[in-house]
């Protein structure tokens, strides 16, 4: 019994790590721009594909050993993925923001960008699924009946580390201070000499970089890639971000792990087809009792 509990906890932590990493990107962009970046799930998918191409390039064309390839793939993928995110911001969101369009039109544009990423991928690379090359050999450990691989532990540790790094950036650095300032008052901040567009680009770099990291880790853990993999995970990660209280990175982090835990627990005790049903019902109940999420602060409306 205890063994099963520990096993499920490890599985839940690993599964929640992906949600947490993607939700961090959602919440960063939301916190600064109050824009639901619905293309974020697809940026995660693009990240996984970029990781696939980079890893295959290093492994087969250059022919370096696996751990070198991994060490090169991670930063390169994060950089390339964040370039995709910044490109979206430049091409689609910024002109709309300049025009002062209603927030919801930007959201629709984001949805459309996600669809373009998905289907352009499908049109360019075909519908066949890609198998991700294995760069390092996994070791399976068995501690008192609890079975885990080093990859699982690496995923969990990476997620926690990147959360703390992000938390540090947002709370301690100058850029982070500017980010929080923009989310507080979008009109006064440019008057203080803060280059608002640069800060937004940095936000997108950070968020998309996290999505790229999630893409690599996901592709290494479940080495099958298909163009629609980002859609469902993206929507669920958004839900996780909201349950945590969107705009707050601690909330996104905890919300991701919470959603992962709920899903794993449901699969452990019920047939796996009930996963979405029960997981979303739980989230609905949480939102019904805490309407602004776990960490969200209720905004007082001035009249």
């Amino acid at each position: 019994m205890l063994v099963a509990i520990f096993q499920n906890i490890i599985n839940a932590l690993q599964w929640g790590s992906f949600y947490a990493l993607i939700a961090l990107g959602y919440t960063l962009v939301y916190g600064v721009l109050t824009l639901i970046n619905f293309a974020h799930g697809d940026i995660f998918m693009v990240g996984a594909y970029i990781a696939f191409f980079v890893a295959t390039f290093f492994l087969t064309t250059v022919g370096v050993p696996g751990w070198v390839a991994l060490a090169l793939t991670i930063p390169l993928t994060m950089i390339l993925t964040s370039m995709v995110g910044v490109a979206l911001e430049r091409v689609a969101y910024r002109p709309l923001r300049r025009k002062g369009a209603n927030r919801l039109y930007v959201v629709i544009t984001a949805l459309m960008c996600g669809l373009i990423l998905q289907n352009a991928n499908l049109a360019l690379l075909g519908a066949s699924r890609k198998a991700f090359p294995s760069m390092i050999t996994e070791h399976v450990y068995n501690v008192g009946g609890v079975i885990f691989t080093d990859l699982k532990i690496a995923v969990i540790v990476t997620t926690i580390l990147s959360f703390f790094a992000l938390q540090k950036i947002v709370t301690k650095t100058k850029v982070g201070m500017a980010m929080r300032a923009i989310s507080y008052d979008k009109f006064a901040v440019p008057l203080m000499g803060v280059p608002i567009d640069n800060i937004i680009v940095v936000t997108f770099v950070l968020g998309s970089g996290m999505a790229g990291l999630a893409g690599i880790l996901f592709a290494m853990s479940y080495p099958i890639l298909d163009p629609y993999m980002g859609a469902l995970i993206g929507w669920k990660a958004f839900i996780a971000a909201v349950v945590g209280g969107i705009g707050d990175i601690r909330g996104a982090f905890l919300g991701g792990f919470l959603l992962g835990a709920v899903e794993i627990m449901v699969v452990a005790f019920f047939p796996s087809t009930f996963r979405d049903l029960i997981a979303f019902t739980v989230l609905l109940v949480i939102l019904a009792f805490r309407p602004t999420g776990l960490f969200g602060v209720a905004k007082t409306t001035k009249i």
């Binding site: 939301y30 639901i36 689609a92 002109p95 709309l96 025009k99 369009a101 209603n102 919801l104 039109y105 959201v107 629709i108 544009t109 949805l111 459309m112 960008c113 669809l115 373009i116 998905q118 289907n119 352009a120 499908l122 049109a123 859609a231 929507w235 958004f238 839900i239 909201v242 349950v243 969107i246 047939p271 087809t273 009930f274 996963r275 979405d276 049903l277 979303f280 019902t281 989230l283 609905l284 939102l287 019904a288 309407p291 602004t292 999420g293 969200g296 409306t301 009249i303």
Partner: protein, 338 residues
């Protein structure tokens, strides 16, 4: 005299023409089905426009309610009028199918309206993007629940509605599906128009402008939210029921979040809170989907791209928040109702 009733006249003539064309088979089945989907899309986009445009909430799970309506009305129809493996012999004589059909579709609408409570009740306290999540979650919950009910086919889907349609044709030999879609589309647009311009419906716009101020001005916001959400989802259920009977087959996968996205796009393409914009954009969107069909998979790259370009040059949608009669004031002479 004729001028004042010209809209009613146009509708009657249009409906008659559609029936005649479908009866004589002047249009092929493909064109006819595109026209019918256009009707369903008009129902969906106008009903979502009621919540997203007029009330200013951001609901993105409209397909979930459509799913409820589709399943309830198709199960009712199959259970009552056809011989089915699951439900056995027909309960009623298939001759009654024609008369009962509108009630079956309306029953689907009522069921969807009750499902709308799933969103309406949390909306008392929850607002903005948190409410958006509740709608997405409601969509997932509905689909997932239906996938887990094995007796109605689960994720394999449910079929047999074509027999009901054929039974209607056996009673009176007319193309019944185009007629019903036409009637229900007009009904939906009419009911939304009446609702929004009624005294009670003014509160919907008041909530959009400022919820707190509306409440202070003695608008019962909770009541209005409940009624509006239920009306919107009920109409979506009607649209779903018609959709099921047009295709003759439903499965939960076709009502997923992508379908909701499609409806959202229609609303925002038309312009928020513009009824004629929603109708217009549903027509344009359906035609665009069919016209670009030869492109196959690239279609879904081209359509979003076109929409992004539209958003860049006209961020408020086709109509903004104006009606057609605001842009062409002479149109107001041709109808009497508000």
């Amino acid at each position: 005299m004729f001028r004042r009733y010209s809209i009613q006249l146009i509708l009657v003539v249009g409906g008659g023409l559609l029936t005649y064309v479908a009866y004589e088979e002047l249009l092929n089945l493909y064109t006819l089905s595109v026209l019918m989907f256009m009707g369903v899309n008009i129902i969906l986009s106008t009903s979502l426009n009621l919540v997203n445009g007029n009330m200013g909430e951001f609901s993105c799970g409209h397909a979930g309610f459509m799913c409820v309506g589709a399943y309830v009305s198709s199960i009712l129809g199959v259970w009552l009028f056809t011989k089915d493996k699951v439900f056995g012999a027909p309960i009623l004589d298939p001759e009654w199918a024609l008369y009962a059909f509108p009630f079956i579709i309306l029953a689907g609408g009522v069921a969807a309206a009750l499902a709308g409570l799933l969103v309406a009740i949390p909306s008392y306290k929850t607002r903005g993007d948190y409410l958006a999540i509740i709608t997405i979650a409601a969509n997932y919950i509905v689909i997932s629940a239906i996938e887990n009910i094995g007796s109605i086919g689960g994720s394999r889907g449910f079929m047999g509605m074509k027999k009901v349609v054929n039974a209607m044709g056996d009673v009176v030999d007319l193309p019944w599906m185009p007629i019903w879609v036409f009637i229900f589309t007009i009904f939906c647009v009419w009911i939304i128009r009446r609702y929004v311009s009624s005294t009670f419906g003014k509160g919907v716009n008041a909530i959009c402008q400022d919820e707190v101020a509306a409440e202070i001005m003695s608008v019962n916001t909770n009541k209005i939210k409940t009624v509006t959400f239920m009306l919107s989802s009920g109409l979506a259920g009607i649209g779903g029921g018609l959709f099921a009977y047009i295709i003759g087959y439903v499965n939960p996968g076709s009502f997923n979040i992508l379908k909701s996205t499609e409806v959202l796009v229609m609303v925002y393409l038309g312009g928020m809170a513009s009824l004629s914009g929603a109708v217009l954009s549903a027509v344009i969107f359906t035609i665009m989907l069919e016209a670009l069909r030869p492109l196959q998979i690239i279609k879904w790259v081209v359509i979003p791209l076109l929409l992004i370009i539209v958003m860049q040059f006209r961020p408020e949608g086709i109509m903004g928040n104006k009606e057609l009669s605001d842009i062409f004031p002479w149109m107001k002479r041709f109808y009497r109702f508000k």
